[in-house]
């Protein structure tokens, strides 16, 4: 039973911390989109074709590098 005298304040402190963490998460916009993340995890990010295409674009870009594009 004496353990409760310590555990109760610990529990309250933990809840306080959890609420603070939750507020921070809500304020930083993590709960603004509740649909996207559920789907995005299912998509394949490591498609070799896409990686090849990205590398290709980057190479093309590297070749063009000397001419600095005009600033808008």
């Amino acid at each position: 039973m004496p353990a409760l005298y310590i555990l109760i304040p610990v529990a309250i402190a933990l809840v306080g911390f959890a609420i603070w963490l939750f507020f921070w998460a809500v304020d930083s916009g993590q709960y603004d989109d509740l649909d996207g993340p559920a789907h995005s995890i299912l998509f394949d990010d490591e498609d070799p074709k896409h990686k090849a295409a990205v590398t290709q674009v980057q190479q093309q870009d590297a070749e063009k590098e000397p001419q600095v594009p005009p600033r808008a």
Binding site: I19, D32, S40, V57
Partner: protein, 799 residues
């Protein structure tokens, strides 16, 4: 006719003969138009072919997206234009773009992957709920206009987006609702642990000091639930009491407030039972119900109703030398001359200085055919220039335009919107009265028998009959039904629609764009010589496919291509198909080619176009605005329900009477101004009628805002969609018929839920009155009855 293959990209019918084909995922796929083909090619060359395996919906047709002119996009690279919506942070810039054309979750994947693959883009995140894209990129490597073009290439339109006051408030409210829900959930679990330990059922070896400590801990943890999370119930109750209504909020506040105050008393005195866990559970259930209901409505509404683009963002101003320069609309002044190319919206009210054209005013007035306009005629901002380029002298801008006058009418009309009675509040009123009377009686009786127990028994009675299930009955049913309706293509943006649909007794309809398709379609072909209708159509389509004119789309995709096509604004097109020199358009213009007399027109309705070659006229094409296929179904349903049906149109042509005759509507009026439509609606309201309004144009907007329930078509103007209570995304009137069935089912489920909740409360009342109810039974009863209500509501998610 054979069933056409759907376009692999957008799902629209593709022309036979495989004119637009592309290899996707190892098979040859048919496309409907060069636009879809180009988008699919861009997606595949980016290595993002897997979009087609991931997606669950067809993509949007690129032609259905708003046009973006290259020089208009270039305006976005000007730093003074960027200033309000782009933030600079060293090398990187950050902005928020609103994306149009998103149809499913795979679109988000495609956009993010595509942008991240572009050099210069450091971060791209799409919010699928509100279709906003947050992007960080190096401005020096990649101008904003190229970013927007890159999105356009894979089939999405992007607009710079700036949070307005309403959007910011919505976000604040959403986050606050989320926080309240989270706090209630987390604290309730703690409160439950502390409170339950003090209950006689679990209290085995609790020392008196610990009992006291646990009571104080529960009080400490419950206080934020009551004051932070339940604020909205108390505020609602106060508001309703001021207007002398007993609503659900009053009932809820009484239960929460009562249990909390009794808990304080019990904590201080150290005796009696604690009901803090009931407070927490009640708060959590209710907040969750309301949060879900709110999200079901807003998630989808946010995406459709953010852009109110009635006017173009930029226009072409002519300087003294007659050179045109693209400027922002805000830089335009009265007295300036602007050049309006065919296919563009007029940026301001003005007078035509030069040029001849026809102007499509259908969205503003309901006239379904473009009207001819000559130098000296007045033109209105927001209407569409159809035929030829016009030079217009600006006479009124911004707030002074006719368009703004309609918008102001809208604001006035919104205040006139009547409030429909909510079933749950009516039940809550009786419920509250009965519970209060019974509690008073029970209290009095126990006061005579055993004064020491009277208070606790009355309290147990109030908590046990706490209207948790009653309060959940409506929000859960509405949430489930809103979700199902969204799948059917109907989007509810206001909460009262489903319940209100059952109280409607009058249906007011607009004609152009609502009962009819709102665009010209080919209604008849009258061949005049040896060629049959199909070959004439093929020739006409070959010519028209080279034209950007809105009429051209009516002819569909041509199997062969025309050459040397010249456009003669206001007159027609000339071109060569094979050996044949052809003209299509105005009869006089076509007959000049062959020096034949103009053949007689044999009908009245619609727009008649002549096709002819060097040897004479070939065929008449009749273009008309066609009735929607499911319009008769809607009218038939309205009639079986015994509704009064009215057709109020801005169109002054005989088409109004014709449509009314075809559909069997007795009461049809044409040539009405927006003001006159609103007056008509007020007359119906003064007769005590409950009006359902269905419309699409800017001229319908005031009526949509003032009607008891208003529904806008998915193809409607942005302003109409934002002022309506629901949007038919599918553009099918049959969705509205389904919505009415869903409304009936929802009403039945709400009634069942309310009946069950009342029954439960009625059953528990006698047990509470004789003092058998302890906190554990109250908690059990509350959760089981709430669960049953939720499960019953879930039946609505099944079609």
């Amino acid at each position: 006719m054979t069933n056409p293959t759907p376009c692999y990209h957008c799902g629209l019918p593709a022309p036979s003969g495989g004119r637009f084909q592309i290899q996707v995922l190892g098979a040859t796929r048919e496309m409907c138009c060069p636009g879809c083909q180009a988008v699919a090619e861009a997606i595949i060359s980016g290595g993002l072919e897997h979009y087609y395996t991931h997606r669950s919906e067809s993509a949007a047709n690129p032609q259905s997206l708003p046009q973006a002119l290259p020089d208009e996009l270039a305006l976005y690279d000007r730093s003074d234009v960027q200033q309000p919506f782009v933030e600079h942070d060293g090398e990187l810039s950050e902005t928020c773009l609103l994306i149009e054309g998103i149809s499913c979750a795979a679109c988000g994947w495609l956009i993010e992957k595509h942008l991240r693959g572009i050099p210069g883009v450091s971060e791209a995140h799409l919010n699928l709920s509100n279709h906003r894209l947050q992007v960080r990129w190096a401005d020096s490597q990649l101008p904003l206009s190229s970013l927007i073009k890159a999105l356009r290439k894979i089939g999405y339109a992007a607009h710079p987006w700036q949070a307005d006051a309403a959007a910011e408030q919505l976000q604040r409210e959403n986050r606050r609702a989320m926080r309240e829900l989270g706090v209630a959930g987390m604290l309730w679990m703690q409160v439950m642990m502390a409170t339950m330990a003090t209950w006689p059922e679990f209290n085995i070896d609790l020392s008196p000091e610990l009992d006291k400590i646990l009571r104080w801990v529960s009080l400490f943890l419950t206080t934020p639930i009551v004051f932070y999370c339940c604020g909205q119930f108390f505020r609602g109750a106060l508001r309703d009491l001021r207007t002398r209504h007993l609503t659900m909020d009053v009932s809820v506040s009484l239960a929460i407030g009562g249990a909390y105050i009794a808990g304080i008393w019990s904590t201080i005195s150290g005796q009696g039972e604690l009901y803090f866990d009931a407070v927490g559970m009640f708060a959590l259930f209710l907040l969750a119900g309301r949060y879900l209901e709110r999200r079901a409505r807003e998630r989808t509404a946010a995406a459709t109703a953010q852009l109110v683009n009635l006017l173009p963002a930029s226009c072409l101003r002519l300087d003294a030398q007659g050179q045109s320069q693209r400027i922002l609309l805000s830089e335009l002044h009265v007295g300036d001359q602007v050049l309006v190319p065919p296919g563009a919206l007029l940026p301001a009210d003005g007078r035509i200085v030069q040029g001849q054209s026809s102007v499509d005013e259908s969205l503003l007035t309901g006239e379904y055919l473009p009207l001819a306009r000559n130098p000296g005629d007045a033109v209105t901002a927001g209407t569409l220039n159809v035929d030829g380029p016009l030079t217009v002298e600006v006479q009124a801008l911004g707030d002074a335009t006719r368009l703004s006058a309609i918008v102001r009418l809208l604001e006035r009309a919104q205040n006139d919107k009547p409030r429909l009675a909510v079933l749950a509040d009516q039940v809550a009123q009786w419920f509250l009265l009965i519970v209060l009377v019974v509690a008073a009686l029970v209290g009095l009786v126990w006061w005579q028998l055993d004064p020491s127990r009277a208070f606790w028994i009355v309290l147990a009675l109030l908590v046990a009959t706490c209207p948790c299930a009653l309060a959940l009955a409506t929000p859960t049913a509405l949430t489930a039904a809103t979700g199902s309706l969204h799948k059917l293509g109907m989007l509810l943006t206001r909460g009262h629609v489903l319940e209100g649909l059952n109280q409607i007794d009058t249906l007011v309809l607009d004609k152009t764009g609502t009962l009819t398709e709102g665009r010209l379609t080919l209604s008849a072909i009258h061949p005049l010589r040896e060629l049959d209708a199909d070959s004439c159509l093929a020739l006409a389509a070959a010519l028209e496919n080279r034209s950007e004119h809105p009429i051209a789309r009516a002819f569909g995709q041509a199997p062969e291509a025309a050459e040397q096509v010249d456009s003669h604004p206001g007159l027609g097109l000339q071109g060569r198909v094979g050996e044949r020199l052809l003209r299509i358009g105005q009869a006089d213009f076509v007959c000049v080619l062959s020096a034949h007399a103009v053949p007689a027109i044999t009908g009245e309705h619609g727009q008649w176009l002549l096709l002819g070659d060097e040897h004479g006229p070939l065929a008449w094409f009749v273009l008309d605005d066609r009735l929607r296929d499911d319009a008769p179904q809607l009218i038939a349903m309205a009639k079986t329900k015994g509704w009064q049906i009215m057709l109020l149109s801005g169109d002054s042509s005989p088409m109004v009477a014709e449509v009314a005759r075809q559909l069997g509507i007795d009461d049809a009026r044409g040539g009405l101004t927006p003001d006159a439509k609103l007056t008509e609606l007020k007359r119906l309201h003064s007769q005590g009628r409950r009006v359902l309004m269905l419309g699409d144009g800017v001229n319908d907007v005031p009526v949509l805002a003032a009607a008891d329930i208003s529904v806008a078509m998915g193809s409607a103007t942005d302003l109409a969609k934002t002022s309506a209570d629901a949007v038919l995304l599918s553009n099918r009137l049959s969705s509205l018929v389904q919505a009415l069935h869903m409304a009936q089912r929802t009403r039945r489920v709400i009634i069942e839920n309310l009946a069950w909740a009342s029954l439960y409360n009625g059953l528990v009342l006698p047990f509470a009155a004789i003092g058998w109810i302890t906190p554990i039974w109250a908690a059990l009863g509350m959760s089981v009855s709430s669960l049953l209500v939720v499960l019953n509501a879930l039946r609505l998610t099944r079609p």
